[in-house]
Amino acid sequence: MKGEGRSRGFLLVVGAIVASLVLVGAYLATGGSSYEPEKVQDPCKPRPWSNPQSLSEIANQFTVSALDGAACQLGVTREALARALATPEARERFKAKYGITDAKLAKAVRAGLVRAVDDAEEAGALSPLLAVPLRETVQRIPLEQAIELINDAESLLGNVNSFLGPAGDLLEEFLP
């Protein structure tokens, strides 16, 4: 009777080990070890453009490149910066959290716009003839306007005429 009790006990322990291993093994095999948020990319690393065709697609990638460039300069993630630039209140919270002044933010946003122009030019989405004056212009504009350009890159790229003055008519034909 005692021997039978022991063998039942042994079977129970073995059964518990098998059940536990099967469960954990099945969960690990179906992605249990990697079920976590995706890691965001370092904004300082290049993010290749994916052959944009329309003006809207170019504007989309322009915005992302500009955010990458500005975030890299500030040492924050592109995602945190995007949320910060959404509203003046969010921007103030962001500045307070990271100890960033308006001047530093303006410098970073302008650097971001320059990177966006560079990336667009490299991807063949922007003619070098248009890229040069655009690069010059974005390096001088005030912070509010620079943020607006990130938010509404499509208007910027679509309205080069008004943005760059009389030379715009000539340059517009260089947009794809």
Binding site: V13, G31, A86
Partner: protein, 439 residues
């Protein structure tokens, strides 16, 4: 009822937190205080029960438990609630330890009394969260405590007869000096396993409510899997008389279940069920087996029962205090990572830049509104765009963002579940060193 009380408030904590306008660490003490006082008061309460008689000790204990429960239900501040919980634990400790002395007369033998008492402890621990969740959702968190008042008083009525008999005859224990030493290894294992089980119960309900945004009643229904599995585990006791084997198997199952919860491959309720079944069967096996081992050959039963109560509740306190800061820090980090991952999904999406930055803004607003919690992201996407193509893209985006949040919420608990699983496995050492006991 008393043993379920250590975990019964866990699903009510968010409501208590909001209503009493307190902090997260403050509200945790509603849970910790009860278990801590139970751990400290169990042995002294058992000694008093031996001195004054178990009938009188149980009757007074239940009356104190009921009175303090009433005070808990009427409490309008966190301080009052915690103070009342402490008094409730003192009453509960007296009632539970004395009950072990009273049970043999009811169930026929001391050995049977030990089995019933141990099984009641396991069932109580497993049932607590589900019961508390249902009451919180259907009535209020106060109802958890107020409902205990009539139940405790009803339980005290038949015991009063025993108490009267003790008072009339003056029969009390004279064996105080002959109390043997507590069973060290069994009680140590009990403390470790209880810490692991506390993690299973408390972390799982927090994951369901705070992470996956289930209502208390939904979470209560989900965690009902554990007490149901515990019922099955309890039946195994009859087939396996070797308590050490049952304890080892139980500890392995609890650890396996916790490891399963640590490696959930998706934020789906159905996937929590297999680990819960393992934990439920495991806790029924291990808690009853270790309690039987700790009480076997020891006298008086009330005092050694007191040691097991003390070990179990000390384990719960250690589990809560050790794991709470870990998962609190993890949930903050994971929430942050999930928000960044979700924003990346929005930024990399093909939707119009103006719309995506507008969405980033609304997501940001949602974060502010639900600061410190994993947000429900749906409202940030409303109203949906009129254009069918754009609407479909935004809806897909919403799903992807929610997926990132679910990933973050689920992963936030992984480290704590793994640590709890390790505690369960470490308990195998004292289990191996404990003596062999057969029913």
């Amino acid at each position: 009822m008393v043993l379920a009380d250590s975990s019964i408030v866990v699903l009510a904590l968010p409501d208590i937190y909001r209503e009493l306008d307190t902090s997260v660490s403050g509200v945790t003490w509603v849970l910790v205080s009860f278990n801590l006082v139970m751990a400290l008061a169990a042995v002294p309460a058992a000694l008093i029960a031996r001195r004054v008689g178990p009938g009188r000790a149980a009757a007074v204990g239940l009356a104190v438990f009921a009175g303090a429960g009433l005070a808990c239900g009427l409490a309008d501040s966190l301080e009052t609630l915690i103070a009342a919980r402490c008094i409730q634990a003192v009453g509960g400790a007296a009632a539970v330890t004395a009950a072990l002395e009273l049970l043999p007369a009811t169930v026929g033998s001391e050995q049977r009394a030990t089995t019933v008492w141990a099984a009641a402890g396991a069932t109580g621990a497993a049932l607590g969260p589900a019961l508390g969740g249902i009451l919180t959702e259907l009535v209020s968190w106060q109802s958890i405590f107020l409902l205990q008042v009539p139940v405790a008083l009803a339980a005290a009525v038949p015991i009063l007869a025993v108490a009267k008999h003790e008072a009339a005859t003056g029969i009390v224990s004279t064996e105080l000096r002959r109390t043997g030493r507590p069973h060290l290894w069994a009680n140590l294992a009990l403390a470790m396993v209880s810490a692991a089980i506390a993690a299973a119960l408390f972390l799982l309900v927090l994951l369901l409510i705070e992470g996956w945004r289930l209502s208390p009643i939904e979470a209560a229904l989900v965690v009902t899997a554990m007490p149901l599995a515990a019922l099955v585990g309890g039946k195994l006791t009859d087939f396996v008389p070797d308590a050490r084997a049952r304890a080892a198997a139980g500890a392995i199952l609890v650890s396996g279940g916790l490891a399963g919860l640590a490696f959930l491959p998706k934020a789906t309720i159905a996937l929590t069920l297999p680990p819960q079944i393992l934990v439920g069967i495991g806790l029924a096996l291990v808690l009853s087996a270790l309690t039987e081992t700790a009480l076997s050959g020891r006298a008086p039963q009330a005092i050694h029962g007191g040691w097991t109560i003390s070990a179990r509740h000390a384990g719960v306190v250690i589990g809560l205090l050790a794991l709470t800061p870990i998962f609190t820090a993890d949930i903050d980090q994971q929430r942050h990572d999930a928000i960044n991952a979700g924003t990346a999904v929005i930024l990399d999406s093909p939707i119009n830049p103006l719309l995506k930055l507008d969405l980033a803004e609304r997501v940001s607003e949602r974060l502010e509104e639900e600061r410190g919690k994993v947000p429900t992201i749906g409202p940030a996407f409303e109203p949906l765009p009129d254009d069918p193509g754009e609407r479909s893209e935004v809806q897909q985006l919403q799903g992807e963002l929610q997926d990132q949040l679910d990933r973050g919420a689920t992963h936030a608990f992984s480290t704590s579940f793994i640590l709890a699983a390790l505690l369960g496995l470490i308990a195998l050492f004292p289990i191996a060193l404990s003596k062999e006991v057969e029913l």
